[in-house]
Assembly symmetry: C2
Homo-oligomer: 242 residues x 2
DNA sequence: ATGCTATTTATTGTATACAGTAATTCCATC
DNA sequence: GATGGAATTACTGTATACAATAAATAGCAT
């Protein structure tokens, strides 16, 4: 009753509906990228609808968008859950980043100006600060934001969008295969990179980005963990030994 | 082959709903890529729902997916229409193809085998045949399919998906900026490319692909046409002559 | 006749109701 | 006590109804 009335009261909302949807999308997306929603976590439509105060219709739309970006997996009659990337997907994503992000460095080096460099330095600064003050979730997202902003500076919106998706998925990959406490990006790498770019040295920036991404990929422990199967295999060992 | 047979054989009446959605998505997507639905064409939800015999709910889902792939644009209260790419988007798309597809050639050259090469040759053959028999729509799609299949052979599913999206958008770009009767890909380019790949010459294939894509991009006439403005300018000419 | 306003119409946006399916629990049986 | 099966439950899939808005049209005034 009071729910219905409240819903009616805050229901004039002409254009707010759209912005609200976008805000909810961002909220869920950020939660996933920041690893506050961990891979495998179920995302029930009812629950999300209750939390955000819209109907399941709107939630489904958002969930589908996230599914197309491969942040959530939508299994036919089982609903949505945060995707748990496979080792193969992880390899693909980092290979793709290697190809695209490195390939963009020369363009970025050409187009970067003083104000853009300053903006990037500010982002790198915030990232380091978040890391120092233990705000790991924020640091993860800021690191991804840095890479995305970099790609945007290339001037190619299409490739920038690809990089955005790859970075989001990378957060998921780090959540599953990364060592605890070790984030993807070393603190000073980003600053060094800005230096090369600002100097207009695209090739050097490209090589540096390549090493940077290789280092992240190398830091992952590429073992896929089964869910409840490990226990079962232990049982099997006991039986086969007899 | 085995896929098609399997698809035909399994007829559990319940699951058809899903496959039906996929089929409808394919139908609309193909119609756009094959330029039977031209840029700017409106896609009313009711009309599509009637044609395919499902409710608007399902249509909306499909429309949103197409919007995320940038094949249709979804303007807030005006509905869906086939997107009309801007000149800038066209440049971005072909630059992206240059970076990604060329970058994949060495990998493809490494992984390609006799059967894959034969499959590609068959596709190139069908494409030529469609072109000869005047089936332009089919030829356009087959050409895109060739590029996509090539990317899939790299083994990187993520990048292959990107290429798929870029090729779809390229069809749209050709529809708007391409010269009449001149399709993107020259008939023998694809065969030559297969030759280099089968010989394991990744670098040569890469260079060839680069020229191939540059040739397509160069064949476009990059003038953006306003909608109803041309008529207006004609009127202006008549008036100014008096 | 033209321009402005009001009404109607066409079309999308959102919620909700209902149906169908997988998961769970409980009971009976071995 | 465990296992198989039936009833219940919880959740998603789909359609439909209703609300809201922009486009189209008609009517009115100047």
């Amino acid at each position: 009753m009071s729910d219905a009335q409240a819903a009616l009261n805050r229901r004039p909302a002409e254009k707010e509906g759209e912005e609200r949807h976008e805000a909810i999308y961002r909220a869920v997306s950020d939660a996933i990228v920041e690893q506050r929603l961990k891979p495998g976590a179920r995302l029930r439509e009812d629950a999300l609808a209750d939390v955000f105060g819209i109907s399941r219709t709107g939630i489904r739309k958002i969930l589908q968008r996230l599914a197309l970006e491969q942040l959530v997996t939508l299994t036919p009659r089982r609903g949505a859950s945060v995707t748990r990337p496979t080792a193969e997907e992880a390899k693909d994503v980092f290979d793709a980043r290697q190809l695209i992000e490195c390939g963009l460095m020369p363009d970025v080096a050409c187009r970067i100006g003083a104000s853009e460099a300053a903006e990037l330095r500010e982002m790198a600064h915030q990232e380091r600060q978040a890391l120092r003050s233990g705000k790991q979730s924020m640091a993860i997202r800021l690191s991804a934001d840095f890479h995305v902003r970099l790609a945007q500076l290339s001037g190619n919106a299409t490739l920038a969008e690809f990089v955005e998706r790859l970075c989001s998925r990378s957060s998921l990959i780090l959540a599953v295969y990364g060592h605890r406490g070790h984030l993807g990006c070393e603190s000073h790498d980003h600053d060094d990179l800005i230096g090369y770019l600002e100097a207009g040295n695209g090739e050097r920036a490209k090589a540096f980005m390549s090493r940077h991404l290789k280092a992240i990929a190398a830091s992952l422990s590429m073992v896929e963990e089964g869910e409840a199967l490990p226990d079962l295999s232990q049982v099997f060992r006991n039986y086969t030994s007899q």
